[in-house]
């Protein structure tokens, strides 16, 4: 059995001048949950629709389970899909909705009954067999959608923003339920979303897309801690960027000049002195120190410009150096008021250098 379940090979799709997928090459492993994450219009939905066969790519091939499916029509691809707006059949009961893929495949009646009941048990919707979709809540409708997608045990489960029509609390609940279900069934799943928290919580791996291209593919930790581009860093979580120039590279670290300040950060491979770099650090990784703290590595003097109370944290805007500013989040129990002088430390291992400037 090949390890790759789904392969995009150099897939491109254009709409006039708009490039929705630009030479997309991506491998999704058997049994993993891969999230396609990006802002709206980044091409993630186009990629998913290429996978379902609803859109035919202009160039490139798509493989599912080792088989080239680029020219296979949607109904022969043996997929399961969960839709953002649920897309249940409004004229059918829950039982018939879930049994629809089995009915289409002409399975014998008793087998259909057992498989439908199994799928409904899987999503904890026993007792709702005779309801119509409109009689169910959003969460229940999405469970029906999930059961319908899983009922005939497809090789691949596709989820197109399945939680964005649900309210926040339910969304979080369903997130874990989907994750648990996919892991238990060992099914390969492709999850499309624009919600970074969802992507980080659910995925085995995340593929971040921007303007039809892949920005980075990696585990949630890699994406969050080691972004490969400014776009990824900005898209996931909060971030600060400082533009600088490499002064010295010393093994695993390098010294970077930012304005009239010097910072020590982990080295960036294949770079040398004189090159421009971007230093990236998350607001909650920066340590806020008292004004009398002794100087040290990456310790800067700054002044509080703005302080906002966010409940569990305080959100500061700190000015330092020559016209530079950082966003810092600190403990709400230890507040610093605007105008106060502070010191702050950018821990070396929490800084991350990106090429360019």
């Amino acid at each position: 059995m090949p390890e790759a379940m789904i392969e995009f090979r150099d897939v491109s799709k254009r709409y006039g001048a708009l490039v929705a997928n630009d030479h997309l090459t991506l491998t999704i492993r058997r049994g993993e949950l891969m999230t396609l994450l990006g802002p709206s219009g980044c091409g993630k939905t186009t990629a998913l629709r290429c996978l379902t066969g609803y859109i035919r790519p202009d160039e490139g091939r798509i493989f599912i389970d080792g088989k080239d499916v680029t020219d296979v029509p949607t109904h022969q691809r043996e997929l399961g899909m969960v839709f953002q707006n649920f897309a249940l059949f409004p004229h059918l009961t829950v039982r018939d909705n879930v049994g629809f893929p089995l009915m289409i495949r002409n399975l014998p009646k008793d087998q259909r009954t057992t498989m439908t009941a199994d799928a409904l048990r899987l999503v904890r919707l026993e007792g709702y067999e005779s309801h119509y979709p409109r009689q169910l809540s959003g969460g229940q409708q999405q469970r029906v959608g999930l059961a319908r997608a899983l009922v005939y045990r497809p090789k691949v489960l596709l989820l197109d923003e399945p939680l964005s029509n649900l309210d926040a609390k339910l969304r979080e609940e369903m997130r874990f339920e989907i994750k648990e279900l996919v892991t238990r069934l060992g099914i390969t799943a492709v999850y499309v979303t624009h919600d970074q928290a969802e992507a980080l919580a659910l995925s085995d791996r995340v593929a971040i897309m921007n303007r039809g291209r892949l920005e980075q593919v990696g585990t949630p930790e890699e994406i969050y801690e080691q972004p490969q581009s400014r776009f990824v860093a900005e898209f996931i979580g909060l971030s600060n960027f400082l533009e600088g120039r490499i002064e010295v590279v010393d093994g695993a670290t390098m010294r970077v000049t930012v304005g009239d300040l010097k910072l020590t950060v982990p080295a960036l491979p294949q770079t040398g002195p004189g090159q421009r770099v971007l230093i990236f650090v998350r607001p909650n990784e920066i340590e806020l120190l008292g004004p009398d703290e002794p100087a040290g590595e990456n310790v800067l003097e700054a002044q509080v410009e703005k302080a906002t109370y966010l409940g569990d944290t305080m959100d500061y805007r700190l000015a330092f150096g020559q016209g530079l500013a950082l966003r810092v989040q600190g403990d709400a129990q230890r507040r610093v008021s605007p105008g106060a002088p502070v010191r702050l430390r950018l821990p070396r291992i929490r800084c991350w250098a990106l090429p360019g400037g």
């Binding site: 379902t52 949607t74 059949f89 409004p90």
Partner: protein, 278 residues
Amino acid sequence: MRFARAYIRGLWDGRMILGYTLLLSLTVFIVVPFLMIALRSVGKGWFGRLWLPPQLTLDWYRWAVEVGNIPEVMKNTLIIGIIATAISTVIGIFAGWAFGRRQMPGKEVAMAIVLLPRMIPPITYALGVAKTFYTLELVDTYLGVALAHVSVCAPYAILVLSATFEGLDERVLEAADVCGANTLKRFFYVVLPLIMPGILASMIFTFTHSYNEFTLTLLTYGPHTVTLPVRTYLAVGDGYWEITSAMAVIMVIPSLVILAMIQRRAEPEKLVGGFKGV
């Protein structure tokens, strides 16, 4: 507070007055004439200023059937109605699909043109229709009269079916595909059940309209294609009010049957083609 309450009560009374006025107009303008016709169709020797007919009879119905040739006329009306409905529904399905599912330039203008026959008085173009049909030898044929009816029935069908197709959720169709349905199965198991209420609604509208159509029939009918409204109108000209009333009552019966069908079978919320998702 007291003023506010008085004000609200005043509004409430206003609503009651409005309600009763409407109810009264309904009675005066619909129920009373209808009762008069019904009474007249069974009354004998009902002249002068009597409130009720002195004698009841079913003779006028016998006359209507025998002299007025009502069975033949009813048959014509139904055949023309069925042809007009069939043609309008087919046009409606295709045009409705295009209007409801496709993006195209000038869609609003096209829709306005489609609706034109509904907006202008039929008599203005009925003359032109009549002239053309004489040339085409369509006058006094079932097809001819039905085609004339289509000019006002088809817009109804197109309007209703456009809304039906618009209400059809693209994602639901996609879901059917992903579930393994090919085009044929998707049509029979998903599309057809979802647009069926719309088709039924459109058929009821168009049939009723053709059944009631007068102006366009008057200019295209002939001895073999007399319809009920025209027959009733002609009977008025003959001066036999009792027979005319009997015909009018006969004419109303199918309309009432259809109304009962609508009430029973097609719930209003289903008429536009089902549930739209969220």
